[in-house]
């Protein structure tokens, strides 16, 4: 194996200058909360500085035609998936299908804390997989707060929310669209939605079951002791009305049908004629636009719900990475990755997985996934990495599960901590790490074994 081929000759001083800028951006993203700046602003400033520095150091390509060269740096496939999914999920959410399902599941537990933890745990994983992990955490976390308060079990709230936060990152591993690192790495590696699901599902099932089992023991979540307690809890939980959030029965039913079609289409994109040429970005956008018809007169309200911070963050991030690529910073990182890969078929993926997880625990896993996938896609000797290579999976598992080590490791754990603090529960940064590390270690060990098995199949 060799480092990615250089685009042109760049002095090492220039490369280190651009690497420094990239490092500063990553550090700023890690301290996003402390410096009170949105992600998009941090990467926006970094993109402006990178382009200026690139121009001064003469590492940038020339624009061809009317489109500026830096627009070409942006991975529009990723943007299409995120924007389309966001439009789709936002409108589907308004139909009440997710709150209906969440309350139905809550009622099925009859208020038993252990059954609630199990149900909410699996619900978090499924919602993370089908929607995205931030939306999943918001839905399940909000319901957890309301239902545990209703049951008078506020003391269990911290354990529930923490467990759900950790499970968002496991659920985020189930499908190609469940988390942004999956979209980025999956797109680069050419992994289809269906293939992603088939490979990842066994790990997600085992890992979820173990996490819930551990949470029940660590946070003391048990079954109700007697019939009187059970009757009381069932009576309280029955006061939820799952139909409250449904404003239109027709829209509710339509949303279920369209949602099912959305998942089926995503799963079969790689085999559907014409659609396979357009990709999952098209599928997400097409379904997003289809739902906009329902809210056609107030589509502007839906646009307001789109996470523009996230989208602009991506656009700027891709520009920063594009400049870094031309300044041969990615070659520099690639050399580091290659050293890990040279450890062999067993130790290599394991080292990459753990290195990715540690890196993503202290900073955003999105730039990590973007930089690593770009770097790995440039590796061409002896041959480009196949989509079946377990190195891709090492990055995917590392980037996602690293989010479970610290509260800033992923957007969904940050949401979990926000809900915890909103409920006036005491949980410091160190407190989160102390509670989460045993879970993260078990999950990472499991992932290492799983990636090893994938390499042998």
């Amino acid at each position: 194996m060799s480092a990615p081929a250089a685009l042109h000759s760049v002095s090492s001083g220039v490369t280190f200058l651009h690497a420094g800028l990239l490092a500063m951006m990553v550090i700023a993203l890690a301290f996003e909360e402390k410096i009170h700046a949105k992600k998009s602003v941090i990467t926006g400033v970094a993109a402006v500085l990178a382009l200026l520095l690139g121009a001064v150091t003469h590492v940038l390509p020339e624009s061809h035609g009317h489109v500026p060269f830096y627009i070409g740096f942006i991975d529009w496939g990723v943007i299409a998936v995120i924007l389309g999914s966001s439009l789709f999920v936002d409108t589907a959410t308004k139909s009440g299908i997710f709150s209906w399902l969440a309350i139905r599941i809550t009622k099925m537990t009859e208020g038993d804390p252990y059954r609630l933890l199990t149900s909410y745990g699996w619900m978090t994983v499924i919602f993370s997989a089908l929607l995205n992990n931030v939306t999943a955490m918001i839905i399940v976390g909000s319901l957890t707060t309301v239902s545990l308060r209703k049951l008078g079990r506020e003391k269990l709230l911290l354990g529930f929310l923490l467990c759900e936060g950790l499970l968002t990152n496991i659920g985020g591993l189930l499908t190609l669209i469940s988390s942004v690192p999956n979209i980025i790495v999956g797109n680069t590696a050419g992994i289809s939605f269906f293939k992603f699901f088939i490979v990842s599902a066994p790990f997600v099932v085992v890992s979820t079951a173990i996490t819930i089992w551990m949470a029940a023991r660590i946070f003391g979540v048990g079954r109700l002791a007697n019939n009187e307690e059970r009757a009381q809890a069932a009576k309280l939980i029955e006061t939820f009305d799952e139909n409250d959030g449904i404003e239109s029965r027709a829209f509710f039913i339509l949303s279920w049908i369209v949602f099912a079609f959305f998942i089926i289409t995503l799963a079969t994109t790689s085999v559907l004629p014409y659609i396979r040429d357009l990709g999952i970005g098209f599928v997400a956008m097409a379904f997003g636009v289809m739902f906009l018809i329902k809210v056609k007169s107030e589509a502007d309200q839906t646009y307001r719900g789109v996470d523009w911070d996230l989208l602009l963050f991506f656009c700027f991030l891709f520009i920063v990475i594009g400049v870094a690529e031309h300044a041969q910073v990615l070659d520099l990182i690639g050399n580091g990755v290659l050293k890990l890969m040279k450890l062999g078929d067993t130790a290599g993926p394991a080292a990459l997985l753990w290195a990715s997880s540690i890196a993503s625990s202290i900073t955003d896993n999105i730039p990590l996934a973007a930089v690593l996938s770009k770097t790995m896609s440039k590796i061409s000797d002896p041959a480009p990495l196949a989509s079946t290579s377990n190195y891709w999976w090492a990055v995917i598992y590392g980037a996602n599960l690293g989010g479970n080590i610290t509260p800033i490791g992923s957007a969904s754990t940050l949401v979990a901590v926000t809900i915890i603090h909103k409920n006036k529960l005491d949980l410091s940064f160190a407190g989160f790490v102390g509670k989460a590390v045993p879970f993260a270690l078990v999950q990472l060990v499991l992932a290492t074994i799983y990636v090893f098995i994938l390499g042998k199949i």
Binding site: T93, A102, T145, V146, T239, F240, D241, D244
Partner: protein
């Protein structure tokens, strides 16, 4: 993070306050009067004894000769705890000079006694009418099971029970004026949504009451009014229109040692209608 608030609201809104039926038991009924005889006691007993809820009640009368002040009356009331006290306004006080008052005895009684107090009008003609039309009144009806349980239990056979939840327009306007001064909030949307939500909770609660009473009191005709308006005016109209035989309302305020504000206003205003103060 905006969605966090949205989902929290969705789930909070989905929690219902269901009605729990519990038939009140009136074992000892104490009639307190300032007359030196038991004439009023006999009138009240004749008026109420045929109502099913008073079927097993033991009646007692405290006439004006047995007490001189609140302390002595309180001692008597404590010595023989009652499930219901029946009395009238302005005990041992001039009706002319204290027209707009309940009188110090009744005022103290509503706060010091744990049991409900049935306030009868001064004009004894009230006793001619059976308790066919009962109106339960609250500014926040949801969750006030005791109010509904007493109102349902005291209403006569095949009677009418009207459950009323009226939001005070003046209070609402006051808050809306504050909201209208906040540029970040769309005041028209806020007005519509807040009003809708304020009335949704009592609507759900009354639905639950209807469902339960259909089984527990199938003979009772349950009706409701959920609206906004100027409270005293609306209640005056309501009582006149429905020819109310009894108004049931709450007099205790958990947060203060004084009579519930709506309870006091209504108790002072509606002097010709019997009132059951909980």
């Amino acid at each position: 993070m905006e969605n966090l608030g949205i989902f929290e609201s969705v789930f909070k809104r989905a929690v219902r306050d269901p009605f729990h039926f519990k038939k009140p038991i009136l074992k000892n009924v104490l009639i307190v009067t300032d007359e030196k005889n038991t004439k009023l006691c006999d009138t009240v007993q004749d008026w109420l004894k045929d109502q099913p809820i008073f079927g097993d009640a033991v009646w007692a009368c405290i006439d004006g000769s047995t007490y001189d002040d609140w302390t002595s009356l309180h001692k008597i009331l404590e010595a023989a705890p009652a499930s219901l006290v029946v009395t009238h306004r302005l005990l041992k006080e001039s009706h002319e000079s204290n027209r707009y008052s309940l009188g110090s005895y009744l005022d103290t009684m509503t706060q010091a006694l744990a049991c409900p107090v049935l306030v009868i009008p001064t004009d004894p003609s009230f006793a001619k009418d059976p308790l066919n039309s009962v109106i339960a009144v609250a500014d926040h009806l949801s969750g006030h099971d005791a109010l509904v349980n007493y109102a349902a239990a005291i209403a006569g056979k095949n009677g009418k029970l009207k459950l009323c939840h009226l939001e005070d327009n003046d209070v609402f306007s006051y808050y809306m004026e504050a909201i209208e001064r906040i540029p970040e909030i769309n005041s028209e949307v806020a007005r519509e949504k807040i009003q809708k939500q304020l009335l949704a909770a009592p609507r759900h609660y009354i639905d639950s009451v209807r469902k339960v009473l259909k089984t527990e009191r199938p003979d009772l005709h349950v009706d409701s009014i959920i609206d906004t308006g100027h409270l005293i005016d609306r209640y005056r109209d309501l009582i006149a229109k429905n020819k109310a035989d009894l108004l049931v309302l709450e007099s205790k305020d958990e947060t203060q040692l004084a009579m519930h504000s709506l309870g006091y206003s209504l108790a002072v205003e509606f002097q010709e209608t019997p009132l059951l103060l909980l």
